[in-house]
Each structure stands twice: as C-alpha cells, then as structure tokens.
Amino acid sequence: MKRLLLAITLMSFWACTGSNSGSQSGQGSKQKTFRYNQTGGLSSLDPAFASTRANVWAVTQIYNGLFDFTKNLDPHKALAKEYEISPDGKVYTFTIKDGIYFHDNPCFPNGKGREVKAEDFVRSFKRLLTLGTGKWIFADKVLKASDGVPSDTCFRVVNDHTFKIYLQRRFPAFLHILATPYTYVVPEEAIDKYGDDLGRNPVGTGPFMLKKGYWDEKNKMVLHKNPKYWKNDPKTNTPLPHLDVVEVTFVEDRNTEFNMFYKGDLDLVVNLSEQSREIVLEKTGEVKEKFAGKFKVEKIPYMLTEYIGFKVDDASSPFSKLKVRQALNYAVNRKGLISVLRHGLGVAGEAGFVPIALPSFDSTQVKGYAYNPKKAEELLKEAGFPGGQGLPSLTLYTYTTDKEIAEYLQKDFEKIGVKIKIEMNKFSAHNTMVKEGKAGMYRASWIGDYPDAENFLALYYSKNLTPNGPNTTKFSNPEYDKLFEEAHETDNPFTRFADYHKMDKILMENSPVIVLYYDEILHMKQNYVVGLEADVMNNLMLENVNIKK
C-alpha cells in the first residue's frame, strides 16, 4: 500500500513537471515576455516612494513624468509639450501634451482612464511635499511661505494643460529633477481612492500597467502592456510597447539569479555577485570570450562613488589632522583593490569625488590621490606619527556585506604602519551610527539621484551638515560654500562645470574622504533582446524593447 502511495506521488510530480516545462519557455504562446529579477525587495509602486533601485525600475514601467533622460543624460520632453523658464530662473511654465490617457482603473468613473490634466501634476507634486521618501526633492527648492514651509501656491494651475512652478532661487538642474521617478504623474482619483495604498494600486500613463491580482509580493509581479500607450516607435510608426508582458521575480540570492539568467529563465541581469563576476570577467576586467558570444554583455560607468569618509570636526581625533587623512589617501592601492576584489569592475577613484559617469567629470582638471606609500609615510611623519607611532587605536566602521574592502584597506594601511580595527554592523545600523557622528572613519557610498555633479557636491555643503542634511563628514569650507552657491546661479553648463571642478579640487586638497572607486554596471542580456540600452543611471526602459528569436 505504501509503495503504491509512493509511486503515485512520484508519478504525479513527474506529470506536473512534464506539463509545466512546455509553457515555461515563456514565448511558447505568442505573447512577448520580458523577464527580470529584482533583489532588494520592491516595497511600493508609488512614485513618491521611488528611492530604491527596485522601486525605480518598476515605477518607470508604469508611469511617465514631464521629462525623461536622453542617452547623454539631458532631460528630454516626455509628457511636457513645451516649457518656458523665466529670466531669473525662478518660474517654470509647462504645457503638457494633449491626448495622454491614464490606465483604465476602477478609480475612474466606468473604470476608463481619463485624459491627463495640469491639475494632476499639481496634485502629484503637492503630495510629494507631504509624504514619501522623495519629500526632499521639492521641499528645499520651491517657494516658501513666511513660516518656512513650502507655500501653497508654489505649484499653480493656469489651465487644463498649463501649470507653473515657483522656485525660491535658481536651480540649474531643475529639469533633471523633473525627470526623476519621484515626479511621475498620478491621477487625482487614485490619490483620493487609494490614499496610502497607492503603492499597491498604481495608476499611471506608462507603457505597462499592473492589473489587479498580478502582484504576488516578494514572489512575482506581472505587468501587462498598456494598449493605449501614447508613444509610437519613431522608425516603424507602430504603437509601443512591443512587449506584451513584463515578468518580475524576486529572488534575493544573487548567485541563483545569475544561474537563472545563464539557464535562460531571465532576459536581463545587472550587477553580479562576486562569484558570478569571476565567471564572466577576466582578472583584467575584460569580458571572457566564451561569455561574450553567448550573451550580450556591456560594461558602462555607473553614477556611484564608493568612498571612506572621515569625521573631520573632532579635534581630539587624528582624523581632524589633514596630513593624516592625506597619508591614508596615498596609502590605498585603488587599482589593486579593483583587480583583486572587483575583478576589474569599476574605475579607480583617483580623480575627485564626482564619478566618471557624470558629464562634468574631467580627470585632467581634478586630481585625486594615486597609490604612493612613500609619500604616505612622509606625510605621516610630518603629522607627528612616524611609522604610525603615537596614533591612538583607530577603527574603520563598515557594514557586514562589505567586509572584503575593509580588510583590504586594513592591509594597505598597515604597510605604512597604521593599524586599524574593523567594526562591522548591519547596513541600517551602520548608517545610523555614521549619521549620529559615532564613527570617525566609515565606509559610505553615494548614488546620484539625477545626473548633475551638484547632487554629489551638495554632500559637503556646510548647510547640509548632519542631522539636517547628508554631510556626515562635517566638512565645512567657506570658499567651497561660495562656489556651491555660485554654481546654483549659473545656467551656462561650462562655467558651472568649472565651478564644480574647483569645488572638487578643494575637496581633494582637504580630503575629508578617501575616494575608493567609481562603480561600473555589468549589463547582460540574452541575445534575442533588442532595443534595451544600458545607461549610467542604471535605469530600465522597456518601452522600446523587443524579443526577436
């Protein structure tokens, strides 16, 4: 009897396997499906909460904003038809395109998506001032009332298709801001009906839509084509998107993710675990030949700087001494780090804090620190700590997933006689400690929110000191502040870039940080995926993507 049971169980399992494997190849039915995996958890499909990579990728498929980015990171009109900026740079007038419709959704009368109005933008932007992880995006830029809170009239509807935004001062990268996912437009009806649950019931104008019941949280999400999408393929003049379905799985383990891609269960994989990197890349950072033929592999710079920060304002700590910081800067072999730990993925951070991915990057203008242990030893001696003697015990604070880099630095520092301890914490605990100023030397990274160096350099503006802003090094320099404010008043990108270079130079001279490397993206897709381009912001644009098997 028991054997019989066993046989039945096994047979039924096998039967299921057989019937399922047929449909798993995905494109067996005529539907065109694009599949990607998302680590790091998708927490919300509300644009106001689009702070993590996972949220940004999904939100980008469902919504549109006034602008999007061209490949060169310039803002490009999306829902905006025309715009006008007042001569003082404080008033922006936008006209939006006609005939853009929201997805069909029960929040509308009869469930039919209606046309986008200027009022929707104003409501969406005002909402962004009051909630979400994107609060900061308008809060310190738009016109403020006398009590310091953003004014009621900073966004104003002119007519159904026109509205104005009033700023308190000129902000040259404002159009870039309007291309970030935070500012995507949400219909008033959805805000009223779903409230805080908008993140589970997204309604947008984008190429794909989420139908009810197609998001199995932390397991899988299926997005369907928006049949009324407003864009056409400029070459063939056929309606976009080409894809019928986007499938997102949520596997947390990066090795499994890579194996799934290798097996053909995923169409795209970005950013690999260390083990998988070894499989794909040579030690030099080149893509292995046998791999390059099997898949389309691209390596491009990413808007991300990885660095070590020093808390410079504590006079009792050796990190307040410029020469100590400079010595430590010279002691790090960045190129070695990249080839040993990163398999050549990334660019050594030897030219300033602003990463190579940004248009203003110029290594001839801004010189950082290259490996020079001799000079490091000299500087240490000048600082009064020859061979590291007399230094108190130093600690490098880092997070648990970043152990290797900390150990690498520990060895490099030891070569010039500086012994450091490593203290590891969970990522969020680490960030709290850094923000509370409990760490003198700490691991950090900064991902650009929009492609302008201002976003990186604001980290060292003295008005952004923690706890009010992200300046955790407590670096403060009047000349730097002046340049920062001056750059804000400049619309001409070239003079602005010159200011950025000067600021970055000041930073390097004062070295409140050790820039380790500028990150790169390893972007791998299946050979049959066409129309998917990698960009330095690590965005995912699927509207032009097609599957050609």
Partner: protein, 351 residues
C-alpha cells in the same frame, strides 16, 4: 483529563508569553533604526523623527512593550478613534471616557515597509510552509520506512552499509548546504532532463491565467527538507526492525510456514513502527523551522522566506509576528502530542 488539558494549556500560554517577551526585547535592543531602513541615506533629521514617531519608537522601551502586549491581547484598552477601529476591528465592551475596553483578535500591527497587515502577510505565507512541511514529512515517512526495512532485511551486507552511510551523511549535512547542492545539481546542471526550476512557489502567477498551481516546484524543496527526517526514520526503522526480527514470535511464525512477505509486513513491521510514529509526530513542528532556509534558497513563498527577508530589512513587526506564530504552532503540536500520550498511557496523567 480536563484538568490535565487545562494544565497543559496554561503552561503553553506561559511559554508563548515568555517567547514574546524575549523576542521583543531582543529585537528592539538590536542596533539599527527602522527609520533609517525606510529613508535610506537620503532624508533629514526631521523626517527621521517623524517616522520614528509614527512607528511609536520614540517612547520608552517598557511602554512600547506594554502597548505591544495590549495589541496582542484578546481583551485590551484603546483610544476610541476612527483609526483604532479600522486597525483593530474590535468589539467594544465598555466605554471609559475616551478609552474603550474591547474584545478583538490579536493585532500584529503592520509591516514597516509595505504597510500591509502582518496577520495578512503571515496568513498568505503559512499555507506554503505547511504544504512543504507536510509533503516532506510524508515523503520522509514513506521512504524512510521502506529503506529501513530494506536495510534491516539485508543487515550487514553492502546494501545495508551503503544505506547507513548515506543516511549518516543525510543527518549530518545542514539543510541549507543540501538545498544549494540539490538546486544546483537538479535544477541547473541537469535542468534539461529534469525540467525543474531553480526557484518557485506552490502557486505561480501566470500572465494569462493568474494564479496556477505548480506542483513541480514542490519537488526539490520538499525532498531536501525530507532528507534529514528520512535519514532518522530509516535508522530508527532499521534498528527497531532488527530488534523485532530476533524475537521468538517471529521465529514461531516462520516455523509455522507463513510466507516471508506476510511475516515482515504483518508481524514485524507493525510492532517495529511504534518508536517511529513517536518520532514522526515530534518532527512536524521541527520541520517548520527547518523549512526556513530551504524556503529562502528555493524562493518558496512561505513563513521562512518572509521572516528571513524581514530580519534583513529590520521589519520588526513581521519578525515578531512570525516568531509568535511559530511558537504557537510548536506549543499547539506539543499539547496535542501530550494529550495523545495521556490518552494512550494513563501513567502520564498522574505524573
């Protein structure tokens, strides 16, 4: 008997209360600010403060604990507001000024990150874990008994030695190592032949048909989870079978000329199974815990995967909720087993 059951229930309640207390203070004492998790490295002090207030994390720890117990209790006191009514869905018993004494189901709060009710999240997940654990148990029992009998009948031959070696390996390999091995071998290298996938849940979302059951996804996780109990059951059956086979009544049966097959199944196995059944009943709760890593590795939608992710994201309400649920299951299973023992053996009741 009733007194005995009540006694057990009371002890069970104490255990759960202890678990809640320990876990609460453990997690809230850990470093790491949930507001930090929510905001990332953007956002300023004011926003952090606001989030901390929203989550009630600015109050003294002991007060937070009392509020939490109040939320969990079936009978509790709350402010009578619209929001409270929506959150707790209570039945008011007695009005006391602006507060109200209510009866309600335990409220496990909402996830910090997704803002979804924890009870809802766990309710969706528990099915997957139960199916996985039950299937594993079924597999382990059937295969374990079969292999144990084979091993005992071929005692001290190469078949026996091979099986015993394999089972020792099965007992000593941690489940997460085994899970990775199984996934790589059967769902990666051999996937063309097996047709199995690296990850997947019982219910799969399909672009055309919505949710569909995918039993093939159950094979690898269930088998991996079954390996340990399978090994234990094999060895138990083997030794108990060997014991029984040497007894006089078996020799008598053989002498009477009863067919070998009948002797083994009807006479020997029936008696040899007693210790095995005891072991199996105790294993079910343990399997729920063993499922945690396996769910995570196979991305199987269940309690374990959700909990591990919640720990990584410092989503404390989910972690607390999951621990409480698992504790309740443990206590419940234990009570049932105790009661069954008491029914079978009156000596237990007196002690």
């Amino acid at each position: 008997m009733l007194k005995y059951i009540l006694n057990r229930l009371f002890y069970g309640f104490l255990v759960i209360f202890g678990v809640i207390t320990v876990v609460f203070f453990l997690f809230f004492a850990l470093p790491g600010d949930p507001a930090e998790t929510l905001l990332g490295n953007k956002g300023n002090a004011e926003q952090r403060k606001q989030i901390t207030q929203e989550l009630g994390l600015d109050k003294p720890l002991i007060l937070q604990y009392i509020y939490y117990l109040n939320d969990l209790s079936f009978v509790s006191i709350h402010k009578d507001t619209q929001k409270a009514r929506k959150d707790y869905q209570y039945l008011a018993i007695l009005k006391m000024g602006e507060n109200v004494l209510v009866a309600k189901m335990p409220y496990l709060r909402r996830s910090y990150l997704s803002k979804k009710r924890v009870s809802e999240i766990l309710y969706e997940d528990i099915g997957g874990t139960l199916v996985l654990a039950m299937t594993a148990m079924l597999l382990a029992s059937i295969m374990g008994v079969t292999l144990g009998v084979i091993s005992a009948l071929n005692a001290r031959t190469w078949i026996d030695y091979t099986l015993i070696t394999i089972t020792v390996a099965g007992i000593s390999t941690p489940s997460f190592v085994m899970a990775i091995l199984m996934a790589n071998i059967f769902a990666f290298y051999l996937s063309e032949y097996t047709g199995l996938r690296l990850t997947g849940s019982l219910w799969e979302l399909d672009a055309q048909y919505g949710y569909r059951i995918a039993l093939s996804n159950l094979i690898l996780p269930a088998f991996t989870l079954a390996l340990r109990p399978l090994a234990v059951i094999t060895q138990l059956t083997r030794s108990s079978m060997l014991d029984v086979l040497t007894q006089d009544y078996i020799r008598t049966a053989r002498a009477k000329g009863i067919p070998k097959y009948v002797i083994i199944v009807k006479h020997a196995l029936k008696n040899a199974l007693n210790p095995v059944i005891t072991a199996v009943s105790g294993w079910l709760a343990t399997l729920m815990a063993g499922a945690f890593f396996i769910e995570y590795i196979f991305n199987w939608k269940g309690l374990g995967k959700t909990t591990i992710q919640a720990v990584q994201e410092s989503d404390l309400p989910i972690v607390m909720g999951a621990v409480i649920i698992v504790a309740c299951i443990f206590v419940f299973v234990n009570i049932i087993v105790d009661v069954l023992y008491a029914l079978l053996d009156p000596r237990v009741r007196i002690n």
